[in-house]
Amino acid sequence: MAKITYVEHNGNSHTVNVENGLSVMEGAVQNNIPGIDGDCGGGMSCATCHVYVIEGWFDKLEKKLDGEEDMLDQAFEPKKNSRLSCQITVTDEIDGLIVNMPEKQV
């Protein structure tokens, strides 16, 4: 279980407990948090679960797979700290993670 904070582009913040094994994308979708779509269902093939991982956390997460960087090319306003939230698996180690959402996903 990890406490994850999702911050919408307008500053609205949602903190929820997400079970281990789910992805950070699923944590948002299952808790009806706006701003993360996850259109393809977590298949790393749509770039609509794009988030910015806040400083300090980005380097602690597991590294990106090749395909994720390719998909991020197609995300809305990608930055250095961009991730696809479907590719971040929830474990006890990421308790306290904070992610910011882009202005929009598409």
Partner: protein, 339 residues
């Protein structure tokens, strides 16, 4: 005006199998899809990725699944309207009149929306000021490459489309290729060619840059690109091309008066009908208690929606359930011999 028993919107796996179900029970149908080929997400998002949960098929790729579904439709004569998007829908004396963006009109008692997560549209540049130049100086696909001859073209993207067009247009235009990182995901051979052309001065390459703004009065004059480290460069540009892949958007369907839940359409589980009589939603786009976004669920939903179509298309006939193994009528429709 094209008259048909049922219009299927979406040529993904669900739409394709539903066409089969309609034809089996003796109804005709037409299929419209915004993509230029059949297969939907299977062909556009994961043609090479294996799928493991299609009943009786232990493993197949999105491309193989699409091919098999098309093979299954071979006995039937079905019209595909590819590269067309449905735009308008209105009532016409008990039928639905549906118009596409290419000006085709369908008249039908049954509209089956098998639209997945929406229609695929090109992903666009984020600066708002790009909109006013769209289809004049800024393009997301190329219809006529002649207009770029002798001009300066700035191409954005890191995939095959961006690389291919950079190489192609460099023959007759001055080309800037701009990408947000150093790595390109396009084919290595094309990338090698780009590097060659860069050395000979035909292509100017800018990596770790993204589009910041576009400038021009009426027609485009120049663009500002911003480096990861915030440095800004101004490039003279007559045209800008963006190749960032496709996104899925519900599009005009959102304005059809259907009960929507986020990006999905609410249906019943008997006919998969929406709140509008004669309009059905099946596959990923529909929503009901317990809905699973699986291809197999789309097949089931399509089979039931097809039977519901029968009632409206043949109001004076009674639908009789038959098996393909034993029905003489169905075998005739399939063009196979009866025992």
């Amino acid at each position: 005006m094209i008259k048909t028993d049922a219009l299927i919107i979406g040529a993904g796996p669900t739409g394709l199998f539903t066409a089969h179900q309609l034809k089996i029970i003796g109804l005709d149908c037409e299929i419209v899809d915004n993509l230029d080929k059949a297969g939907g997400q299977c062909i556009e998002l994961y043609p090479d990725k294996p799928i493991y949960d299609i009943p009786a098929i232990p493993e197949c790729t999105g491309e193989e699944l699409t091919k098999n579904l098309l093979d299954q439709l071979k006995p039937f004569n079905i019209n595909f309207h590819l590269g067309e998007r449905v735009d308008e829908l209105k009532k016409n004396d008990g039928n639905w009149e549906v118009k596409t963006n290419k000006g085709k009109t369908f008249l039908t008692p049954n509209v089956i929306i098998a639209g997945g997560v929406g229609s695929f549209e090109p992903r666009k540049f984020s600066p708002k000021e790009c909109e006013q130049f769209e289809d004049k100086s800024i393009f997301y696909s190329i219809k006529n490459k002649k207009i770029f001859e002798g001009k300066t073209v700035s191409i954005f993207g890191g995939g095959d489309s961006a690389l291919d067009w950079a190489v192609e247009l460099s023959k007759n235009s001055k080309v800037n290729l701009i990408h947000r990182r150093d790595e390109f995901r396009g084919a290595q051979a094309t990338l090698d060619k780009v590097h060659e052309l860069q050395k000979s001065g035909k292509i100017e390459l800018f990596t770790k840059y993204q589009l910041k703004t576009v400038k021009g009065n009426g027609s485009l004059e120049s663009i500002d690109i911003e480096h990861e480290n915030k440095e800004i460069k101004n490039l003279k540009s007559d045209y800008v091309l963006g190749f960032f892949g496709l996104i899925m958007q519900l599009g005009p369907i959102a304005n059809w008066g259907l009960n929507l839940n986020k990006k999905t359409v609410e249906v019943d589980t008997e006919k998969f009908e929406t709140n509008q009589k004669g309009i059905y939603a099946i596959g990923d786009i529909c929503n009901y208690p317990g809905k699973l976004k699986l291809i197999l669920s789309g097949f089931h939903e399509g089979a039931l929606a097809a039977r519901a179509c029968f009632k409206l298309a043949r109001p004076n006939e009674k639908y009789r359930f038959e098996f393909t193994t034993s029905s003489k009528t169905i075998k005739e429709r399939l063009g196979v011999k009866s025992d």
